[in-house]
């Protein structure tokens, strides 16, 4: 599989009617991933639209990952880490916070719907917050509509 193979058309619903948003979450393994685990253990229900990429820390997430997701036609990207002060590596989320506020504003400046890239702090004990954030995210992305901006190479 190379870059070109992963074209956005591949797994997209043909019709806008049965379109379901595809969302990627980059979750730090100490807090947010564990929070999502807790949502599971607590049997909290949320829509199945999110796929999780497990990373050691929100500080690990390279802005290029987010960019790649968006140009590949992913409808929404979430980066989630520990709350400030809770980072397992003590400071990783501070760096992420700074990095992604710049990216978020730049993307908006270039005409990418701000709903498509979001961030959250979810701790290992916030299973309910995880379920809520996914629900809200899916709802918001549904309103934003499918990410077709990059579909055709103009």
């Amino acid at each position: 599989m190379t870059a070109t193979e992963g074209s956005p058309e591949r797994k997209r619903g043909k019709d806008k009617k049965d379109w379901e948003p595809r969302i990627v979450g980059f979750l730090c393994k100490w807090c947010s991933y564990a929070g999502a685990d807790l949502a599971g253990t607590s049997r909290l229900q949320y829509p199945p639209n999110i796929r999780i990429v497990r990373v050691p820390c929100s500080g690990r997430v390279n802005p290029l990952f987010v960019l790649k997701c968006l140009v590949n036609g992913i409808d929404g990207v979430l980066v989630s880490g520990c709350h400030i002060g809770d980072c397992h590596y003590s400071e990783g989320n501070f760096y992420a916070r700074r990095r992604f506020v710049i990216l978020k504003r730049l993307l908006e400046y270039l005409g990418i719907d701000p709903r498509r890239f979001q961030m959250s702090w979810i701790s290992a004990s916030e299973g309910d917050k995880w379920a809520r954030v996914v629900k809200e995210l899916v709802e918001e992305i549904k309103q934003a509509g499918p990410n077709t901006e990059f579909r055709k190479g103009i």
């Binding site: 599989m1 190379t2 870059a3 193979e5 992963g6 595809r22 990627v24 393994k29 991933y33 564990a34 999502a36 685990d37 949502a39 599971g40 253990t41 049997r43 909290l44 229900q45 949320y46 199945p48 796929r51 999780i52 990429v53 497990r54 990373v55 050691p56 820390c57 500080g59 690990r60 997430v61 390279n62 802005p63 990952f65 790649k68 997701c69 590949n72 992913i74 397992h88 590596y89 003590s90 400071e91 990783g92 760096y95 992420a96 990095r99 379920a131």
Partner: protein
């Protein structure tokens, strides 16, 4: 590449919502998948055996296990892979339980999602690299920072296991705060009687080295191999020659307030802080010594029979290697001078608990008499105010200092024992006496020693006609109270040492907003820190009484000894790695590394045919957070196990 996919039913936990058979069939259709199957409990022995046999039979070289969260069973399946002859890092898990079957109800949706999750894991595993465990040699020596009861207990425990321990203490003697106490609650045994034997044990142990009157200057390295720079301050007395005969301080003409006695007594310029000091070697206080201030006197040098006095002694900087570090740096008292309503600390007869301890001590500056420092008269009406600085967000600390209730009760008791006519009034908010025999102790003080307990915080203290007027309230009766007191004892809270943040930064351990060091986990790892090889004990982590301090000291020692007994340390190889060819040497990574795990390295650039600097990861120090990889513009630094290729492959598979 031959990948095997193993889908777990987890009883009905997964199978009830996810059609595991279909998942397995779909997985088998993916490229590179050579084998796919399901089993009821993949983590069970038969389940693991199934994996091993499949690996053997189908010559699998990579494994994907679709089951529960990796937080739960990643280690299990890594080991299983290893036993099956596959590199443990060529195994990836798809979390189809916590992230799928448990959070969805629609069988079709959940099954489809499970298939995708496996596809994601397949994408990642296809880019995994076989990794080898890292091994770090261990320096068999433990550094203990702080020579109070916590440090002393740690040293004794480590020496008992025949490993060398080094105590670093900035005061001239070990003993710490406990050496100043009179009696200890709730048993009332005298602090000196139980502490001195321990101090002697330490001083006589062949395994313990003491650097007293010394400060820590810097820490480099990582678990197993810390290099610590220590400043041994000039004591002006040769520790090897001195026998502790005391001739020098008996003849010294200078008198200054004694720090050990909280300024209630006097000491000489060449002094030992207290009679039981260990080492029993005096130190010259150069700020006050006539020789150093006026180049006069010199009596101590003349009189010393062993020629131990050395006015020219300089600070000495030494470097030592350690395998582990125990932080026992203790606490200090809250400074009540911020309380304007209590007189900004200017009333002589409003003292702190530690002052009271020194006064109550029969070998202390007042010979065990509880007096008013202002006029030396015996105190009859003594008001104790609890929570000074504690539980006060406006002027002090948000937390409860935990011991003040108990030591105040003890003081109320001691007061009565020292002076039958005296009366104790204790202003409290809540009595927190959760400890073995603590509640009984407080009740005893109230019932048998007649201490009057008043529930309310004091609003104001002021001086009038030589007495201190204390205005408080008893909220239980709804009354305002005014007491004309001879003496007020403020139960000041426990706070972190003022230089705690500096020490924390040196050791790369986090600290909270109160400057208390943060443990790795508040419940399950209370003496560990996130920096491996650095352990916490005593009040530097949170306010603790003596039993708790001793318990954490022994706990920290066991953790340190756990490292000492190993030949070498196995670590997960999930650390950052630099590609020399791609690195430009901008060192954005060094700046962004919270653990100083990256350093500069000079290499010979073959293409440019000259030497240049690039980044190098210290594998022993790297914690694998991956922050460096995201700040590297050229992606020259990558994280094993969560590499750029792995993550990008996952994104492409979505």
């Amino acid at each position: 590449m031959k990948i095997g996919v193993f889908v777990c039913h987890c009883g009905t936990n997964i199978a009830a919502t996810v059609d595991v058979e279909r998942v397995s069939q779909e997985a088998a259709k993916e490229p590179r998948v050579k084998f796919s199957t399901t089993y009821r409990y993949m983590c069970s022995d038969p389940g693991q055996n199934l994996i091993k046999e499949a690996v053997k039979k189908h010559h699998l070289d990579r494994i994907v296990i679709a089951s529960c969260s990796p937080s739960l069973h990643e280690k299990t399946f890594r080991k299983c892979a290893e036993k099956a002859g596959v590199n443990p890092y060529l195994m990836e898990m798809a979390n189809i339980r916590e992230h799928c079957s448990w959070v969805h109800q629609d069988r079709v949706e959940a099954t489809a999602k499970a298939i995708e999750l496996i596809r994601l894991a397949l994408a990642k595993v296809s880019r995994n690299k076989p990794l080898e465990y890292l091994y770090i040699p261990i320096e068999k020596k433990v550094l203990i920072i702080g020579g109070g009861i916590a440090g002393i207990q740690s040293a004794i425990d480590i020496a008992f296991a025949n490993y060398p321990a080094v105590i670093l203490e900035r005061e001239p003697s070990i003993g710490g705060r406990m050496a100043r106490f009179d009696k200890t609650f709730p048993t009332l045994d005298c602090a000196a009687c139980i502490l001195t034997p321990k101090m002697v044990t330490v001083s006589q142990s062949k395994h313990v080295t003491m650097h007293t009157y010394s400060e820590i200057e810097g820490v480099k390295g990582h678990v197993g191999d810390f290099t610590v720079t220590i400043r041994k301050k000039a004591r002006s007395v040769d520790i090897n020659k001195c026998t502790g005969c005391g001739a020098c301080y008996n003849k010294c003409p200078v008198r200054v307030p004694s720090e050990f006695d909280m300024g209630l007594g006097k000491r000489t310029a060449i002094y030992i802080p207290f009679p039981q000091a260990v080492p029993n070697v005096p130190v010259i206080d150069r700020q006050n010594c006539l020789w150093f201030t006026k180049q006069k006197c010199g009596i101590c040098k003349k009189i010393c029979p062993f020629e131990a006095i050395d006015y020219d002694m300089q600070d000495e900087i030494i470097e030592e290697k350690f395998g582990a570090i125990i932080v026992a740096s203790g606490f200090t008292q809250f400074n009540h001078a911020v309380y304007g309503e209590y007189g900004y600390g200017k009333y002589k007869d409003a003292i702190t608990g530690l002052h009271f301890e020194r006064m109550a001590n029969s070998s202390g500056p007042t010979g065990g008499k509880i007096i008013r420092p202002s006029d030396g008269k015996e105190a009859r009406d003594v008001v104790f105010i609890q929570c000074v600085g504690s539980r006060d967000e406006q002027k002090g600390l948000s937390y409860c200092s935990r011991l003040c209730c108990m030591y105040t009760a003890k003081h109320a008791l001691l007061l009565k024992e020292h002076n039958k006519d005296a009366q104790a009034y204790v202003f409290y908010i809540d009595i927190r006496a959760a400890g073995k025999n603590y509640e009984e102790f407080v009740k005893k003080v109230q019932d048998e020693y007649g201490a009057v307990y008043l529930r309310g915080r004091v609003s104001r203290i002021f001086e009038k006609s030589g007495k201190l007027i204390v205005r408080g309230a008893d909220t239980l009766s709804g009354a305002q109270i005014e007491i004309k007191a001879d003496l007020v004892v403020l139960a000041t809270g426990l706070v972190a040492q003022p230089d705690a943040p500096g020490l924390a930064r040196m050791l790369h351990i986090p600290y909270d907003r109160n400057n208390l060091f943060t443990e790795a986990h508040p419940k399950l790892a209370p003496v560990e820190t996130i920096t491996s090889g650095v352990f916490l004990t005593g009040a530097c982590q949170s306010p603790k009484d003596i039993p708790d301090t001793v318990a954490t000291a022994s706990a920290a020692s066991v953790k340190a000894l756990g490292l000492m007994v190993q030949d070498r340390l196995q670590r997960e190889p999930l650390v950052a790695k630099v590609d020399a060819k791609t690195c430009s040497g901008c060192f954005a990574c060094i700046q962004a590394c919270s653990f100083t795990a990256i350093e500069e390295e000079e290499i010979e650039d073959k293409r440019l045919k000259k030497k240049r600097l690039i980044a190098k990861v210290l594998e022993g120090v790297c914690t694998g957070c991956g922050n460096c990889t995201a700040v590297c513009r050229m992606s020259a630094i990558d994280l094993e196990g969560f590499s750029n290729r792995q993550i990008m492959e996952e994104i492409e598979a979505l």
